[in-house]
C-alpha cells in the first residue's frame, strides 16, 4: 500500500494562513500526512515521499532563509541543504518528541547558522537524555508537541499583534533583542517583556509556572 492510499484527512487539520497554496497539492498536508512521509523516507528510503515533503517545505525553508537576510540564491541553497539533511537524518526523527515542522525548523535553523554566520551551534543531543526518567510534566509537553497542529497555531494567531511581531522577528530575523528594539524604536525592556508575555501565553501547563 502506498503512502497516498493510506493518507486521510484528519478533522483537526493545520490550515494556517498561507497565501500561496499550490494548486497542484490535492491534499492539505496534515501532521499525520507529514509523519507518514517521514516514515516512508526513513524506513523505505522512498524518493517520491521525499519529493512530496520537499514540495511542501522547501518554499518555506527558502522564505525562512530570505527573512534571515540571505539573497534568493543563498536562501535556495539553505533550503536544499536542509532537505538533504532531512534525507540523511530521517531515521532520527522521533514523533514522540516533536512535530515534523519543529524537527525541520531545527534543521534549517542550524543550516542557516552554518551558512550565513559560518558558526557552529552548540546543540542538545538526544543521547544525553536517554537515561532520564521523564517526569509527568514533560510527558504533557510532549503531548503538546505532538498536537502542535491546531492548538499552538491558534495560540500564536491569538497573540496580541505587538507580541506576535517581536516573537516572529526573534525567530526569523536572527536579531538580538537590542537590534529588534532599535528597529521598532522601542526600549530594550519593552521587547524583552513582550517576548516573555508571549511565551507565557504560548507555553502549555508546566510545573514551574512563575
Amino acid at each position: 500500500m502506498t503512502i497516498l492510499e493510506t493518507t486521510r484527512i484528519r478533522p483537526r487539520s493545520v490550515t494556517g494562513t498561507m497565501p500561496q497554496q499550490s494548486a497542484q497539492r490535492q491534499l492539505s498536508a496534515t501532521e499525520t500526512d507529514l509523519r507518514q512521509l517521514m516514515s516512508a523516507i526513513a524506513i523505505d528510503r522512498d524518493k517520491q515521499a521525499f519529493a512530496r515533503l520537499f514540495s511542501h517545505f522547501a518554499p518555506k525553508l527558502k522564505a525562512y532563509g530570505m527573512r534571515a537576510g540571505a539573497d534568493p540564491q543563498t536562501a535556495e541553497e539553505i533550503a536544499q541543504e536542509a532537505m538533504v539533511a532531512v534525507w540523511r537524518k530521517a531515521a532520527s526523527f522521533n514523533p514522540e518528541k516533536a512535530s515534523v515542522s519543529t524537527w525541520l525548523f531545527t534543521i534549517v535553523r542550524n543550516k542557516r547558522i552554518d551558512m550565513l554566520r559560518r558558526e557552529s551551534r552548540p546543540d542538545l543531543k538526544e543521547e544525553d537524555f536517554l537515561h532520564l526518567d521523564q517526569p509527568a510534566e514533560t510527558q504533557d509537553e510532549t503531548y503538546e508537541a505532538r498536537e502542535t497542529g491546531s492548538v499552538l497555531h491558534s495560540k500564536i494567531a491569538a497573540l496580541p499583534p505587538d507580541q506576535a511581531e517581536v516573537v516572529r522577528k526573534a525567530f526569523y530575523e536572527d536579531k538580538s533583542h537590542r537590534a529588534i528594539a532599535e528597529e521598532l524604536g522601542l526600549p530594550l525592556g519593552t521587547v524583552k517583556s513582550r517576548i516573555r508575555l508571549a511565551l507565557s501565553r504560548l507555553k502549555t501547563h508546566l510545573a514551574d509556572d512563575e
Binding site: K89, S101, L124, V167, L199
Partner: protein
C-alpha cells in the same frame, strides 16, 4: 533569591538560533543538565516549528528538486550516536554540547591559577573574540574570582555548588550577572565547584594592548 535557571527571552533566542556561539554554549550546557529547563525548552522550539509551517512560500528554481534528488544516492544515513573522544571521567561530568570544546579530557586542558584555590582553563572558540569562555575550578570554601567587566557574565555549574548571598547555585543551574552585580560568591565548603563561565566583553576593553589598557581588570 537569584534566578538559577534561564529566563524565557533567552531561551527563545537559543531556540531561534540568534545567540552568539559562546552564549549558546552556556545555554545548551544548562539545558543539558537541568531537567525542568530542558522540558520547557521543547515547548519553545515547537513555536519555531509552528512559525515555520505558517511561513509564506518562495518558489525555488526549476532544477532545485532535481539537484537535491541527484545528491540523495550519495548520502548514507547518519548514525544517531556519535563516538565520543573524551575519557569516561570527563564524560560523566561534561554534557554533550560542551564536549566538543574540551578536547581529550579535563586534565588535558591548560589550567592556570587565578588566586587562592581557583584555577581557570580557557576554551578555544573560533570567531568569538569579544567573549571569554572558560572552565573554573574552585576549591571548597574559596571565593569565586571577581570579574570586572561591562558585559554579561553567564555561569553554569557543572559539578559541586556555590553560594551567592542567600542563593545556592548547584549542578545544572544557570546564572546571569551584569556589570552592576557586586557579588561575592563562595564555593561549597565540602565539594567546591566546577563551572563554565562565559563573559561578554565589549570590544573597547580588549585589543592588542589588552593587558596594558586594563591594569585594574582581574582577568
Amino acid at each position: 533569591m537569584m534566578e538559577t535557571r534561564i529566563d524565557d527571552a533567552l531561551m527563545l533566542d537559543y531556540a531561534a538560533g540568534s545567540l552568539a556561539e559562546p552564549v549558546a554554549l552556556a545555554v545548551a550546557t544548562h539545558l543539558s543538565l537541568h531537567d525542568e529547563a530542558r522540558a520547557a525548552y521543547g515547548a519553545v522550539e515547537a513555536i519555531g516549528g509552528a512559525i515555520l509551517s505558517d511561513l509564506e512560500e518562495v518558489s525555488l528554481s526549476n532544477g532545485a528538486l532535481g539537484a537535491v534528488l541527484d545528491r540523495l544516492d550519495g548520502e548514507a544515513g547518519e548514525p544517531s550516536l556519535r563516538r565520543c573522544e573524551l575519557d569516561s571521567a570527563t564524560r560523566s561530568i561534561i554534557p554533550a554540547p560542551l564536549q566538543a570544546y574540551i578536547g581529550k579530557s579535563l586534565d588535558s586542558l591548560e589550567w592556570k591559577r587565578r588566586g587562592a584555590g581557583v584555577e581557570e582553563a580557557r576554551l578555544a572558540m573560533s570567531g568569538a573574540d569579544s567573549y571569554k569562555v572558560a572552565l573554573l575550578r574552585i576549591e571548597p570554601g574559596r571565593a569565586m574570582p571577581q570579574h570586572s567587566h561591562c558585559g554579561a557574565e553567564y555561569t553554569v555549574v557543572l559539578q559541586g555548588a556555590y553560594r551567592d548571598g542567600d542563593t545556592e547555585v548547584k549542578s545544572g543551574d544557570f546564572c546571569v550577572a551584569d556589570a552592576d552585580d557586586t557579588h561575592q560568591p563562595v564555593a561549597d565548603p565540602k565539594e567546591g565547584c566546577l563551572c563554565l563561565i562565559v563573559l561578554d566583553e565589549p570590544v573597547r576593553l580588549t585589543g592588542a594592548w589588552g593587558w596594558v589598557i586594563n591594569p585594574f581588570l582581574k582577568h
